[in-house]
Every structure is written in C-alpha cells, then in structure tokens.
Amino acid sequence: MRIKKHPILEFGEQTKIHFTYNGKKMYGYIGDTVASALHALGIRRLSDSIKLKRPRGFYCAIGNCASCNMVVNDVPNVRTCITELEDGMIVKTQEGKGNVYETF
C-alpha cells in the first residue's frame, strides 16, 4: 500500500519500473528500494531464518540487521532495504546462507 495523500510530502507522478520476484513480474517506482517495492505490494516475508526457517521481514531499514537479505541479480545476502530498485532486477528469496557459486 502506498500513501495517497500527505499533508507535507509530495510523491507526485512516479516512474514505474519492473522487476521479477521469484520469477513473477512485479513493479515499483524509481526511488524505491527492493524492500520498499516488495512491501508496497504486500510482500512482508523477505527471508527465512537460517536454522529454524522462521519468516523474517523488513526491520531496521538502515542495512544493519540482515533481516531483509535476498538474492538480487544472482548475488546472495543483498540487504534489500538499502539497495535501490532498478529496472529488470531479478529478486529471489534466499535459501539458507546463500550460495556463493551462484555468482560464477
């Protein structure tokens, strides 16, 4: 959900960009982070805890807690809360600690 009307801030006309999330086509706006775009689409579960697989979501938004780690363009452990969304990005949920070989 996005803010429609705000007494102080102007979000105005925003430019739509597209990305995929676990293979599905999604959209966000220029200026979004990967995490804010997913959140706006109602996707709260961004990662799973490594051992017990407990769902984890957006928590600190400053790149400090790793709760939002995902695989972005084949790079694992990307802190999606401080990663700017780009057109054509491939975003996936991460299995466990993330596979380094994915990048080779």
Partner: protein, 366 residues
C-alpha cells in the same frame, strides 16, 4: 598492491559526517565520505517534522530540508569532497587502513586521519516472536513512509513514548494510518508534553505501565498480547489483553554504533546516559587510537542539531591537526562549543551533560 589514499576519510554521510567534510574542505583538507546507503543524509532524510533548537541549527526547518542543505553543501564541493555511496566499511585496522565492501568486492583504502560518524542503531526489545514480519524499528517505519511513500500497515501499535515514538506516531497519522495505542513501560510519558498532547487530541491512547508480552501470527504479525506492569516492571498476572494489529513499531531508544571502534581496540565505556557503549575521547574528539576521531550519535546519542555542530567542530579540529588551520579557527571553535553548551542546557541535554561528565571525569565538552 596499489592502495588508494586519502588525507581524511569520514565514515557515514549523516549530519555529523557531512558537516565534518564541509568544514574540513573550508580549512583546505580534501576528504572522502563513505556511506553504506545509496543516498546521503543519514537519519535526517526521513524526518518530516520541524526541528527544535536554535536558528543556527536550522530550528523550525523540517529534517528533510536540513538534509537537502547539508547534502548540497557537500555536493557543491566536488573538488574537495569525494563521496562513495553503496559502500560499507567492514574493517578498520592499525596502520590507518580500512576495508570497504561494495557489492561483492572488498577494497582497502588508507588515510592520515579518520572521522567515524556512523550514528546509532535502534534498540530491540525481547519478547516472544519478536522476529515476525510486521514488527519494525520506528526509524524503519519512518523510512518506509517518508522516503518511499509506503505504508507499514493499517493498524499500528507503537512501543515507547519517547520523542521518537511520539513523533513517528504523529507521522503515521499524517500518512493516514490508524495508530491504535502507544505503550509505555514506565509510569510516565518519556517525550515532550507538546508531542504527547498532539496525539491525545487526535484520539490516540498512551498507556503507561504497559508493555508487550508476546507477538502472535503465522507468517506475519496478527495480534499482540499486552500486559500491565507493576512498579518493579514485572508483568501483572491477569491483566493481559490482546490487540489486533498488522504493524508493531518499536521505539525504545538508540545505541551508538561504535563496532568499528571496538574492532580496532579503541577504549570504550558503557554510559547509559549516552545510550550505551561509547568511545573515550579527548577534547579534540580523538579516540584513544591516534588519528581516529568521532562525531555525532556514535559518541553519545543526542540530536541532529548537536550532530551537525559536533561534525563542524571535529572537522575543524582534525584539519588543524593535519596542519590546515581554518582561517577563522578561533571564532568558530568558540562558537561551536557555545552552541553545544546551549543545546545541552535543556531538560534532555542535562542527561547528555551528565553522561559526558561520567565519560570524561570533569569537563562539559565532548
């Protein structure tokens, strides 16, 4: 191996770091600002409210606009200030070297002097299921709403009635979100009365002596269990009740982020009035490790206003130590110190002053 070298490196592009770079540039020192986010401004970029304080620190101006001024000052000065965004400092070593991570690449950079201005991080609260999606730090909620225009949920409960908890609750209302309750474990409201009354006028209930016992939900937050607390901060049996909510916002204070300083072995001291573990510093804002300085929330959680002035002061002092004395050094030095004294003379400033006295043993200046 060829290693990049800078006379001055500043870690963190928040108000403290930006201000330090500005004065260093004015003194004639070129610097590099390293920021892990993809934008500069630190905590300020999400603050839509007007600041208190005095005119010199932009009181009556909204945080977002102060950020614009500070960022502009730095970006105007490309000859003197280099900025590296999307870059996290992950290591700090003896011999004036640090390691940065950009994407998947680690690089070493060396410096003559370093200013650590990494700010603070939000404290967490221990309760059952506190890791469910839908539970956020108050700063994260602000970022979502005020930077990205995204709503955290429809019905929010705020934990903590300090100024940040109160301000963010008000901002949630402005964004059209229903704030169900503000819970405060202490017997009295922590923040300024003006902020609390504003919320009360808008129908938000602030419950003192109350806290969360557990969060309930499957894949995301659905409900919370709240309990009353007695005067020993113990849950009162039988007082529990549930609140249906899809977003819980935790605002129980900030702690300085001095991990890099601990890593390099700078002497740290736990001072609760300054927010937690802070580096021991001298009158030049230098830590116990030579050539490593600090400014802003990392050396005691305060406000953006004081972070800005501390940044200026530290930039001034570091430059002088590097052999570049600002042409107006004496006046500026006195001015910054008196601004800091002023900022610390209010009801909340007293805490900082006492904390600093504890840290330093005697004097009032950081």
């Amino acid at each position: 191996m060829f290693m990049k070298h800078f006379r001055l490196i500043i870690i963190g592009g928040g108000p403290a770091g930006l201000s330090a770079a500005k004065i260093a540039a004015e003194s004639g020192v070129k610097s590099l600002i390293i920021e892990r986010d993809f934008k500069l401004g630190g905590q300020l970029v999400k603050q839509t409210h007007m600041f208190f304080g005095s005119e010199k620190q932009y009181a009556k101006t909204r945080g977002i606009n102060i950020a614009k001024i500070l960022i502009n000052d730095v970006e105007q000065n490309i000859n003197m200030i280099t900025v590296m965004k999307n870059t996290t400092v992950v290591g700090l070593y003896e011999d004036n070297v640090l390691t940065v991570l950009q994407g998947e690449t680690y690089t070493k950079i060396s410096f003559d002097s370093l200013v650590v201005a990494t700010g603070a991080s939000e404290k967490f609260l221990a309760f059952e299921n506190n890791d469910l999606p839908g539970i956020y730090g108050a700063g994260a909620v602000q970022t979502l709403m005020n930077v990205h225009g995204v709503l955290p949920g429809e019905k929010v409960v705020m934990i903590g009635s300090g100024n940040i908890g109160l301000i963010v609750s008000y901002q949630l209302l402005q964004a059209g979100v229903n704030v169900l309750k503000v819970l405060e474990a202490a017997p009295t409201i922590g923040g300024y009365k003006v902020h609390a009354s504003k919320l009360k006028r808008l129908g938000v209930d602030i419950l003192t002596n109350h806290s969360i016992k557990k969060a309930i939900g499957k894949d995301k937050l659905e409900k919370i269990l709240v309990s009353e607390l007695d005067d020993k901060w113990e849950f009162i049996e039988g007082s529990e009740f549930e609140i249906e909510t899809d977003a819980l916002c935790i605002s129980v204070g900030l702690s300085p982020m001095g991990n890099l300083l601990s890593m390099i072995g700078a002497e740290m001291k736990y001072i609760s009035k300054l927010g937690g573990l802070v580096p021991v510093i001298d009158h030049h804002h230098e830590t116990t490790i030579k050539n490593i300085y600090v400014a802003g929330d990392v050396c005691g959680v305060e406000e953006a206003s004081s972070a800005i002035v501390e940044g200026y002061l530290t930039g001034l002092l570091v430059s002088e130590r590097l052999g570049f004395r600002h042409k107006d050094f004496d006046n500026l030095y006195d001015d910054y110190n008196s601004q800091l004294d002023n900022l610390r003379s209010g009801p909340f400033g007293v805490r900082t002053l006492e904390g600093l006295q504890e840290l330093r043993g005697e004097r009032n200046v950081k």
